[in-house]
């Protein structure tokens, strides 16, 4: 038998070679891979201009550690001093809200930032579209209310602080309970299920006698502590301490989430987000890590909830609208999905913009009335000019990657 010369044996081999640009021999070239027709995905991603090739724009991560810590410390101090922004000449009064007192606006921002940080773990890190995130916020807040409000049937008269660990535990558990059966779903299906989850929580709050519907639960205790003159630190008069509490929680959550992101956990999430099947084929326990993402997101949402309950002192079923979930998701995407600084900025903006519009007159009407219009326009503009978000993550690909169906031989 002579006819089987190796190249003749496979007629496709020769043609395939000729249709492909030979990849550059010299290594180190940042050129997108010159692939042929067989790798449509690679070709496509390769042509998308990588926004930051090495040596491009400087980023805080590229700074030496000392400078980076100094930058962080500076930002932190500035954040704690934000309630006195009035004292800053010229720009201070511009930044300050008019229709709502500034510390309250700051507090609102702080729990939105917490929510954005939590949702960023779920959506940004693990790539799971959760449209019902407000559900966990509600669970956290209601757990405190049920345990501590005198209006509640099972009022234990617990102080706020004692309710916090219970509420976080309940949130973690509810994250796992929702995730366990649903995390096998992908993309759109998961989004629908989480949307349903948030509605279930809202309807339950509306109709159950325990949560008292729109009559609500009042007199929820404030966080503990007194000033030296005996007056409580956390009162209805001044929201500044609540803001500081929120800011402190944000710092803790950023540290925790940052640790996770830099670790094998973060890599696993990223791998799942990029290609779930390949992640599992490389040994990543995908279901377990998705569950962790859900539970951690839920717990952080729960922190937002307990703070909210402690500040407001009153909750009812009208508090937790679906709009919350949508707003927080918009914040995460606007800031740069998968990026912690992005989530902080996005979360702050979704709360700040409407609050800033309060009390501003546009053509004889309060601009607050148009907040969603203005807000929507801003999101559209940001998404057009910065689709990767305001402070994008280095590793986030600018285009979503669909799971590829592997072709047969």
């Amino acid at each position: 038998m002579t006819p089987t010369t190796p190249s003749g044996a496979d007629p496709s081999a020769g043609t395939r070679l000729s249709t492909q640009d030979p990849p550059p021999e010299v290594s180190g070239s940042p050129d997108p891979p010159g692939t042929g027709d067989r790798e449509p995905r690679e070709g496509r991603t390769g042509t998308v201009a990588c926004p930051k090739t090495p040596g491009g724009r400087r980023r805080p991560e590229d700074l030496p550690p000392v400078a980076r810590y100094a930058l962080c410390a500076g930002i932190l101090v500035a954040a704690y001093l934000l309630p006195w922004i009035d004292r800053v000449p010229v720009i201070g009064p511009q930044i300050r809200t008019q229709g709502i007192d500034w510390p309250s606006a700051l507090f609102n921002m702080s729990y939105f930032v917490l929510l954005a940080l939590g949702l960023n773990v779920v959506v940004g890190f693990a790539g799971l579209l959760d449209l019902g995130y407000v559900g966990f916020f509600a669970i956290g807040a209601y757990t405190v209310a049920v345990l501590a409000s005198p209006d509640s049937d099972i009022d234990r008269g617990w102080p706020w602080l004692a309710c916090v660990p219970v509420a976080i535990g309940v949130c973690l558990l509810s994250g796992v309970l929702l995730g366990w059966p649903t995390l096998r779903l992908r993309g759109d299906y998961l989004a629908i299920v989480t949307l349903g989850f948030a509605e279930i929580i809202r309807v339950f709050a509306d109709s159950s006698s325990l949560l008292r519907g729109d009559r609500g639960l009042g007199s929820i205790p404030h966080p503990p502590g007194t000033w030296s003159d005996g007056s409580p630190i956390f009162s209805v008069r001044d929201a500044t301490p609540y803001y500081w509490l929120g800011l402190t929680l944000i710092v803790l959550m950023v540290l925790a989430v940052g640790n996770l992101k830099r670790s094998r956990v973060g890599r696993s999430w990223l791998a799942i987000r990029e290609d779930e099947e390949v992640a599992e084929l490389m040994g990543v326990r995908t279901v377990r890590f998705k569950l962790w993402a859900f539970a951690i997101g839920a717990a952080i949402g729960g922190f937002g909830g307990v703070m909210f309950a402690g500040e407001q002192g009153f909750l009812n079923s009208a508090t937790f609208q679906l709009m919350f979930s949508v707003l927080v998701l918009a914040g995460v995407v606007m800031g740069g999905s998968g990026s912690i600084p992005g989530a902080i900025l996005g979360g702050a903006l979704i709360s700040y913009i409407p609050d800033r519009l309060r009390g501003v007159e546009i053509a004889g009407t309060d601009a607050f009335e148009y907040r969603y219009l203005i807000f929507g326009l801003m999101i559209i503009i940001i998404m057009i000019f910065r689709p990767q978000g305001l402070l994008p993550d280095r590793r986030r690909s600018t285009i979503p990657q669909e799971t590829q169906v592997e072709e047969q031989t």
């Binding site: 991603t45 990029e274 031989t409």
Partner: protein, 291 residues
């Protein structure tokens, strides 16, 4: 990079065909008899609807060999990889790795049991750096999880450090150490293929399945790939290789299994496979009886 070396039982590149006589069917006499069986593929059946993708596929993979899996397009080679790694479940039959069945296990458990793979159409985590891609594979062997990472426990940090070191070493091993911090999607095509091999090796496999690793490579790159495959085997990893380039397959493999229409039509030493009338017929489209 290790240079090509000729260890025992390995065919010198581009030599003539040493003929051991015809060797077909499961457990056929390759040139490495007596080696223990690493994986046993036993009567695999898989069909998608009416299409039979695999029919009674039976063969052994012996520890330490480079086994080629060839066949015309659509013969079921990648489908077989998918069954082997748990992407598809077979309708019947099973695969034993070191005597224990792996069929039916979740994909990540199969990986942990020691089977790793690359992909015909490159599937890297394209937004991560080369190093991070490999570390994902290395993570499969680590024990600490969320609590350890959250609190940055000493044991977790040790494991992170080890993953990083191992991953760097693997990148060096496949010859792309200088690109460790580049985003995977920015790597040249050939290096993406190498990165896939490094990522698969990071899981610590006994059996490495390469799905057309030379596709789209230049002849020079193919030569270096061949050296890499041998170097992988010399690390004690058994290699199962799907490849269309016959010259490469003939040079690098110890034994070849030929699939056609989802069935094993030949199993033997490269020299015998080249001469096998059924293989020739399958590739050239000549009816078997006319060959």
């Amino acid at each position: 990079m290790t240079t090509a070396r000729m260890s025992k039982g390995e065919q010198p590149p581009a030599s003539g065909a040493p003929c051991d006589g015809p060797a077909h069917g499961p457990g056929g006499a390759g040139r490495t008899p007596g080696r223990e069986v690493l994986a046993r593929v036993d009567g695999l059946e898989l069909s998608f609807g009416g299409l039979v993708a695999l029919h009674d596929v039976t063969f052994d993979v012996r520890a330490g060999e480079i086994l080629g899996l060839i066949g015309p397009n659509g013969a079921g080679k990648t489908t077989f990889f998918n069954v082997l790694t748990g992407v598809h479940r077979p309708n019947r039959g099973r695969i034993l790795l070191e005597g224990r069945p792996v069929t039916g296990l979740p994909k990540h458990r199969i990986t942990r049991r020691g089977i790793a793979r690359t992909f015909q159409n490159i599937r890297l985590f394209s937004g991560m750096t080369a190093l991070e891609n490999v570390m994902v594979g290395a993570d499969a062997r680590h024990r600490t999880s969320v609590p350890g990472a959250l609190l940055r426990l000493p044991r977790h940090r040790r494991e992170e450090e080890r993953a990083r070191t191992d991953a760097r070493a693997l990148l060096e091993f496949v010859g792309i150490g200088q690109h460790a911090d580049q985003t995977a999607r920015n790597l040249p095509y050939g290096e993406q293929r190498r990165l896939e091999i490094a990522r698969a090796l990071a899981t610590g496999p006994r059996l490495l399945c390469l799905d057309e690793p030379a596709a789209g490579s230049t002849p020079a790159e193919k030569d270096r790939l061949l050296e890499l495959i041998r170097a992988v085997r010399d690390r004690g990893v058994t290699v199962l290789l799907i490849e269309h380039d016959m010259r490469l397959v003939m040079r690098v493999t110890d034994r070849i299994v030929v699939l056609d229409h989802g069935q094993v039509i030949a199993d033997g030493a490269p020299g015998d496979i080249r001469e096998d009338p059924r293989v020739v017929a399958a590739y050239l489209g000549v009816p078997t009886d006319a060959a």
